[in-house]
Structures are given as C-alpha cells and as structure tokens.
Amino acid sequence: MRPPAGVSRRMLLRAAAAGATALAAGCSGGTRSVQVAVVWSSSELDRFREVVAGYPAPVQVISAGNDIDAFLRARHLAGTSPDVAILPRPGLVTEYAQRGWLSPVRPSTDYAVRVELSDLLMTESERYGVWVKAAHKSLVWHLPSVLPAPPTTWDELVHRIRQLAARARRDGGPVPLAIGAADGWVLTDWFENVLADVAPGSYYALAQQGADWQDKPVRDALDRLAGLWSIDGAFVGGGRRALLTQYEESVIQVVHTRRAVMLLGADFTADVVRPFRRGPEAPVTFRFPGTQPGGGPLIVGGDAAVAFADARGGVELVEWLARADSFQPWLREGGYLSPNTNVSITSYTDGVGQRLATEMRAPGTLRFDLSDQLRGAFTGSDGVGIWRIMQGFFADVTDGVRASEAIRRATGLLAAAARSAGGGR
C-alpha cells in the first residue's frame, strides 16, 4: 500500500481550498461538466486540473480526500455518484465492478500497459478501468556521502546493516535504517518487496480469494524480514520507537537529522525530501536489493480511472485519460510516472524520471502492490487489516520474540483476516 497518492496528498492543508475551487469551477462551468472524484490534493490536484483542461468538454475535479472508498460509498448510497473516479487501489475497481457500479471501458490501441497491471482491472473478461499514474516503490533513499557504495544483493544489505549497527553502537554514528512503522503501508511495502523476490511466482496468488497465507512463500518472506528487522540497533531508537515514527519523520531522519543511513521509499518520497534536505548534497536512491545482483524486485503502485454506470460522459473521459498524450502537462512538471509504455522515455524531463520509467519497462519481476489488491478491510488502514498485522510482526521481531514464533502468529492472523475479508465487508 502506498500512502494514498504520495505525501503531498496527505497535506490536506490545501485540499479544502482546492475543493472549494473545484466546486466553484464546477458550478460556473455549466451543468453538463463531467465530475471526477480523485484522492489527490494540493499540487497533485493542480497538476491533474491542468491535465483535464485539455479535455474538450468541461471537467469538474473534486478531491475526495484519503478515504475515497467511504466517500464513494456514501455518494452511491445517496444516489449522487460522480461520473468518474480515480482510485488508488485496484481492489476497489473489482469490488465496484462486481457490484455493478461501473461501466466497462475500451481504451484505444494507444493505451499500452504491462499485462501484470492491466489484468488487475479486468472482471469477467471486461475491462473496468485504466491506469493513469504509477508509483515506483522499490527505492532505497540515502545520502551518497554516508553510504558511498550501495549494496546490490540482499545478503550484502544485511551484512552492511550489521556493520553500520555495530559502528553506531560503538561510536554513535548514524544507525542503518529509518522506518516509518507507525504507518502500516511502509511495512507492507517492505513485505511485498521481499515477497516478490523470494516467491515471484506465488505473489499474485495471494491476492486471490481463498489464498493460503500460511504457506511457504509468506513464511519465507517473513523469515527474511525477521532476519533483517531483528538486527540489534537496526532502527533509530529501536523497534518500539520506530512503531511511533511516521513515514515523513523517517525521511527526515535520513535527509535532515541524519540519524539514519537508509530508508525504503518510493519515487514520491521526493516530496518530503525537497523541503527537508539540508546542505548542497542531494539524497539519491538505489533499487531494493534482491537475491541476485541487478535482479531485485520491482513493486509498483498506481491509480486507476473508472467510469460509473449511468454516468454522463464518464466512459469517454476515462478513455481519453488512457491516451498517451493526455498527461503531458504533468509529465512536463515532473513527479509523475506513466504506466503507459507508449509514453516515450524522452518526454520525461529529468534524469531520475527517465531512469525510473525505464526500470518499470524492463522485463523482470514487476509486481503490483499486493496490499492494494486485497479485499475489504484486509487491505489495511490505521489499526486495521494487513497494516496492523505487519505492525504486530514488526513489534514481535524487534522485541526479541523468536522468528518462528513471530511468523506463526503473523501468518495465523493473516489467514484469519483473508478468510473474513473473502465475503467482502
């Protein structure tokens, strides 16, 4: 799970205002404008407005805030659903489709995304949504001066963390890792990266109903995580403190206070890095290491556009959003990765964007964020579902509980949660 659309989205500092503008714009734009509900706020919302400004008909963008699911349920209940919504989780797309809330869409040949992604939006061989934005979630952020030679394999990473932890204990240098374990999605991102590496073949099966969460792949991935997380002194302030550290604070611990060397982040981590970086040195990233050098996992998140049944002009707008040239304004501004492989690499204006876009196209173990595909409450939010279970696991292994015992507890809870989410909520 990603923070629903990056850091800036959560800073609703500007959301209310943007929403008000949206309403005003919508009202003045005539009654026939197409209504789009998005989770974005702040600068992302502004960018998206620039994007839909290119649409031939007037479009009213409304920011539904983080819990777009609750928003859309309430709107559906009240019979005032928007025409189009951009959802941060494919699990929602299939859920809504199965309830008959959505219209099928048929994007033009111009829309080409990797099959691992496009399959997620299919229900009963009908396509109910298109991907409009992607996020690269296998990046480890660090300062080059603090970590000159990044590890390239998992074993190297573990070894390096041991070294750094020992050095930190000895002479008080920075500890190896910052982790925002107070936000459950940070831990599920860790889990997904490791799972995609140890059991790429079983990864997607876990998203299916009736999946066995007590089977070997999950246990292997948790075992690997336990091996790293239980290293003494791996985290700033220890495990208990890490569980009270939010994701943004963990970024600050690496780029500003420099109490930690690395953190697992994503391309949207740059939104926090920017205001908090210190001095001339720019933080950089390396790919999350896998078993083989260069063959690490690639976890991708993304936002999908759907059209509601009975919407006016909804399907047309969704199909327009799927086109390669629709998102040009956002591409030019930066901070946007396209899931569409027809978007040329050269249209990314910065080197980092080009590199990440290239990585996302390279053949290999691209996997879509697993927790975002889970059904019902299992998908996780604060104190709920897989977020809560991973936090319990983290607390166990950093608190000295034996790995086998911690894994037994976690897989038991995961299996129970998967069972009760099977029937939907």
Binding site: V7, R10, M11, L12, L13, R14, A15, A16, A17, G19, A20, A22, L23, A24, A37, I62, S63, A64, G65, N66, D67, D69, A70, F71, R73, A74, R75, L77, A78, T80, A181, A182, G184, G237, G238, R240, R241, L243, L244, T245, Q246, E248, E249, V251, I252, H256, T257, V272, P275, F276, A377, S381, D382, G383, V384, W387, R388, Q391, A395, A416
Partner: protein, 588 residues
C-alpha cells in the same frame, strides 16, 4: 463537538423532577404548527435513522438474521478489550474530573486569584478536541528532543534518551489520552461546582456551627448532603456521557500502530463501517446507543430533584467566611499553572517553521513567524475559517429560530407530558452521529444535499435542535408568572409574546447560541462524515494534517491556535450567561 452539547443536560436534569409547572397557561391557538420544523428535522435526521440502524443491525440486505450481527461483532477479536476500555473511560475519567473539579472549585472560591484560576481552567473547555489532541501529541512526542513531557519524564526517571518513556506507546496511550480529556473537561466541572457551592445557603453552615459542628461537619451536613451529592452525580453522568466522544482525541493523538491499544467503541464502529451503517457496524452502534441513552436516562431519573435548587428569594448577605486555607489556594494556583503548560507548548511550537518544528524542540530554536506567515499568506486557512464561520453562524441562527418556535408551545405542557418530552429530547441530544451516519446519508440523498454545505448544515441543525429546545423550553416554563402575563398583554400576537419571552430569557438564548456555535465550530465527526469537496470545515481540515504529524507540526500548531481564538473568546465572554442560561429557572 462534545463538552458543550453535554452541558445541556444540566438544564435537562432539572426537568424530570416533581412537576413544578403549576401555572397552567392556555396553549396559544394553533401553536402546535410551530413544532413542525423541529419535528421534521428530528424525525427525518435522528429518529428515522435510529430506527434504520436498528433495522440494519438485525438484517442483511433486508433479510432478517436475528442476533447474528451482534454475535459476530462481539466475538470479533479485540472487541472485549474495546468494550472494557470504553467502560473504563466512562468510570475512571468522570471520577477524576469530578474530584478535581470539586477540589479546584472549592480551592478557588472567595480568593483574589480564584477568578483567574477558573478563567484559565475554562480555556481548554472551549478548544476543539482536535486542538487538544494536537497539543497533547506535541507534549507526548516520543522523541525527548521534541516532546516536553517525554523529556521531563526521562530526566526525572534518570533514563537515557534511548530508553525514554513512550506515552504514545501501546502501554501508556490510554493514560495519555485520558490526561488530555481530563485537561479539557475539568474547567467545566469547576464551573458547575462553583455555582453549586454558591447556591448553598451560608445560613446552613452557620446553623451547623451553632450546634458545635466542626469543619468536616459543615462540609458534610451543610454542603455534601443538601446539594453536592446530587451535583457530583450530575457532573459524573455528564462526563461519562462525554467520554463517548473521545473519538476525536484518538484519531488525532494515536499513531496507526497503537490505534488498537487505544480503541473504544466509537472508533471500532468507525473502522467497521466507515460512512455506511450495515451489519456488524450497526450492531455495535446499537449497543453503544443503548448504553449512552440508558446511561443518561438512569442519571436523569436518579437525580430527581431540581438542580441547583431555586435560589432563595432574599439574596444571602455577603458571607463572612474566610477564604480557603493557604494550602488549597496554592493547589489552585498550581493547577492553573499546570493547565497553562500545554497551551504554552502549542503556542511555542506554532512559533516555528516547518523544518525547525519537525527536527528539534521548540525550546532549542529561536521562534519565528514562518508557520503563521505561510498560513496567513495562503488561501486554504482563510477559506476554511470563512466556510466554518458561515456554517456555524447559519446553523446557530437556524437552530435558534427552530428551537424558539418549538420551545414556545412545549413550555405550556405540564405533568407527564412535559417529562416525557424532556426525556425524549434528552435522548435525542446524546445520539452519537457515527451510529446513524449511513441512514442520515440516505435521507440527505433524498433531498439532494449529500456531500454539500447544505447537507452538512442540515445535519448540524438536526443534532443541535433537541438540546436547544430543551434549554429554551425550560427557561420559558420557569418564567415567573408576571413576566409571562406582561408579555402576553403587551404583545397582541403570539410572536410578540415569543419575542418578549426570549428577551426575558436572554441568558438561555445566549447560552444556546454560544454553545451551538462553538459546537459546530469545534466539530470533527459531522464534518468528516458529511462534508464534501468545497464544504470542508475546520475539524476535518486540522485532522487531515495530523496524518503526517511531525513533518507538519509547525503549521498544524499555528492553524490550531488560529482556529481556537474564536471559540475561546466566545466562551470566556459568555461564561456567566452559560451557567445562568443552562440552569435557567433557578438563577435569574
């Protein structure tokens, strides 16, 4: 939204006593039509949704399933702990607030600094609970280089920075939340106890002394038995009902990883059902509803006497009683200082920019106005403040009109009818909105105003009306007979009479207006459930920012300060009217 609303029950409680509306007035013509707006609002947005929720708790997609949802919800892992914690909140916190409230009210009486002490204690009462949550999360920040309480506790315990106590950790989080709640509510208890103590006739104490009674006899026979026992029960009940609204605090103060350890029923229902009300969520909601309404009913029926008693006709001569002992006065002064600390932390944090506030403690960097500058030059805060002001004003005005119209005919009721109306209104005023959110949304959809400013206002109005009607009805019913006669003679039409009655009851009108305004201004839950794009009020605006707390703390503290100015000023300025208005008939 909590404390003020509950204060209303004060007024209500004196209503279920022995019938005292001996002065029967003829009902004025067809005034029952005046009840229509209030009846429609309450019927459509409170009563019907409650019935729908009850229905949803025993059905799945319209099919009868009996107690299945209740069994599932109560058997879900952790529900036992959640219910236990909810009960702990409802017992422990009121006990602490009541005890502290009495002590501080007694200690701050009849001394020069007492007024100032009570004023300081009153400020947290007026703050939005979201702001209280922000303040205490700043205090309890797990990093000793940022959190004052953590730093002090680390030093006192002689621990290392690595081993600092974690107030927001799983072991202590409920204690931390409770401390914030007590901080916010003690001022209210002090206010109530003070008016109760003032109402004790000094002659009673003199009589006890005349018979050779000692200080403790005075306390027991002249204060506790005649009055304080009942007041204590009332305050305890009020705070207990108030704890059902700890939701705001939990949402703001707890990091995601400890939310389960802090969870109470309100939060569990939120997590189970979100904005809709179905199945297990509805079942938990019904349990909660029954507990809250049952609790307030028991309190109301138990405390069957007018409170505080009507004042004796002849004003008691200034009592020649000595101020409290020095140790008590010191206690009061100490409490005032302790109560100021969180406020100081909030203001100090707000005086730092984003990076400074996130990276180090407010005491280790020079203050600047960066956060305020960013806020004030941006448009978001102004827009939110403007919208909230508009919303709160419109809601208050509407509630006042609807409640005045309804209170007028209701005030003529006597006997069982009056008591039944009182109990019904009392029950309606404590219905937790989370329980009926789904059905309310359906109703709003019918009138095409879901997710809009009108819809939001409508929900606020419906929730505010029962309390306002109660207070105004009691005030009207308790008017001395001459005033009513004068009003009726002076005004030829019923609305002239109503206007005159309202004028004679200025305190009640002011109390209702201020409390309603502050309640809407401070609200989080209603805004969160029914606000939409373009209609996002202050509460949700602040709460959203807490999702990334540390990196946002400068701006968050600054907007909290700006958001608190208006409610604090209103409550402080109108504090005398508040008490007088709420106990209506007794004090005038």
């Amino acid at each position: 939204m909590s404390q003020v609303r509950v204060l209303g029950e004060l007024a209500v409680l004196d209503d279920v006593g022995p019938a005292r509306r001996g002065r029967a007035y003829p009902a004025a013509g067809a005034t029952s039509a005046l009840l229509l707006p209030a009846a429609v609002l309450l019927g459509g947005l409170v009563l019907w949704p409650v019935l729908r929720t009850m229905h949803a708790s025993v059905t799945t997609d319209g099919r009868w399933v009996g107690a299945e949802h209740f069994r599932t919800a109560l058997a879900a892992p952790g529900t036992g702990a959640v219910v236990g914690r909810t009960v702990l909140w409802a017992l422990l916190v009121p006990a602490v607030v009541t005890a502290l409230g009495y002590l501080l009210a007694a200690a701050s009486r009849r001394s020069q600094e007492g007024g100032l002490v009570r004023l300081i204690l009153l400020v947290p009462v007026a703050l939005p609970l979201v702001v209280t949550g922000v303040t205490f999360r700043l205090m309890y920040d797990p990093d000793p280089s940022r959190g004052l309480a953590t730093l002090v506790a680390t030093r006192l315990a002689g621990r290392s920075v690595e081993d600092a106590p974690q107030f927001l950790g799983p072991g202590m989080v409920t204690v931390a939340l409770m401390s914030a709640f007590v901080w916010a509510w003690v001022g209210l208890a002090v206010l109530v106890f003070r008016s109760a103590l003032d109402a004790v006739p000094p002659s009673l104490a003199d009589a006890v002394r005349a018979y050779g009674g000692k200080r403790r006899h005075v306390l027991w026979d002249a204060q506790w038995r005649p009055l304080l026992l009942r007041t204590t029960a009332v305050v305890f009940a009020l705070v207990a009902v108030g704890t059902s609204r700890t939701f705001d605090l939990i949402l703001v103060m707890t990091p995601g990883s400890v939310r389960d350890e802090a969870s109470v029923l309100a939060l569990r229902i939120w997590q189970t059902s979100g904005g809709t009300t179905t199945g297990d969520g509805a079942a938990l909601g019904v349990v909660w509803l029954v507990a809250v309404i049952g609790g307030i009913m028991v309190a109301a029926l138990f405390v069957r006497q007018a409170w505080p008693p009507p004042r004796v006709e002849a004003a008691p001569e200034p009592a020649p009683v000595a101020p409290p002992r020095r140790v008590f006065r010191l206690l009061a002064a100490g409490a005032a200082i302790a109560w100021l600390v969180p406020l100081a932390v909030l203001v100090a944090t707000s005086a730092h920019g984003r990076v400074d506030a996130a990276a180090r403690g407010w005491w280790s960097a020079p203050p600047n106005g960066e956060s305020y500058r960013d806020l004030v030059t941006g448009t978001e805060l102004w827009r939110t403040l403007g919208f909230t002001l508009l919303l709160a004003t419109a809601v208050t005005a509407t509630v006042l009109v609807v409640a005045l119209l309804a209170a007028y005919p209701l005030a003529w009721l006597t006997g069982p009818a009056a008591q039944a109306t009182g109990l019904l209104l009392l029950a309606a005023s404590v219905v937790p909105i989370q329980v009926i959110a789904g059905p309310v949304n359906e109703v709003l959809g019918l009138v095409l105003s879901s997710g809009t400013a009108q819809g939001l206002a409508l929900v606020h109005i419906a929730l505010g009306v029962p309390f306002a009607v109660l207070v105004l009805r009691n005030a009207f019913a308790d008017l001395p007979v001459e005033q009513v006669r004068d009003a009726r003679l002076g005004g030829r039409r019923w609305w002239h009479t109503l206007r005159r009655l309202a004028r004679h009851n200025l305190s009640a009108v002011v109390a209702v207006s201020v409390l309603e305004f502050v309640q809407v201004w401070n609200d989080l839950v209603v805004g969160r459930l029914f606000g939409g794009p373009g209609s996002s009020p202050l509460g949700p605006f602040l709460a959203e920012q807490t999702r990334s707390f540390v990196s946002n703390s400068g701006a968050l503290a600054a907007s909290s300060v700006l958001a608190s100015v208006l409610p604090v000023v209103l409550v402080v300025l109108s504090r005398r009217h508040l008490v007088a208005g709420l106990v209506s008939g007794g004090v005038r």
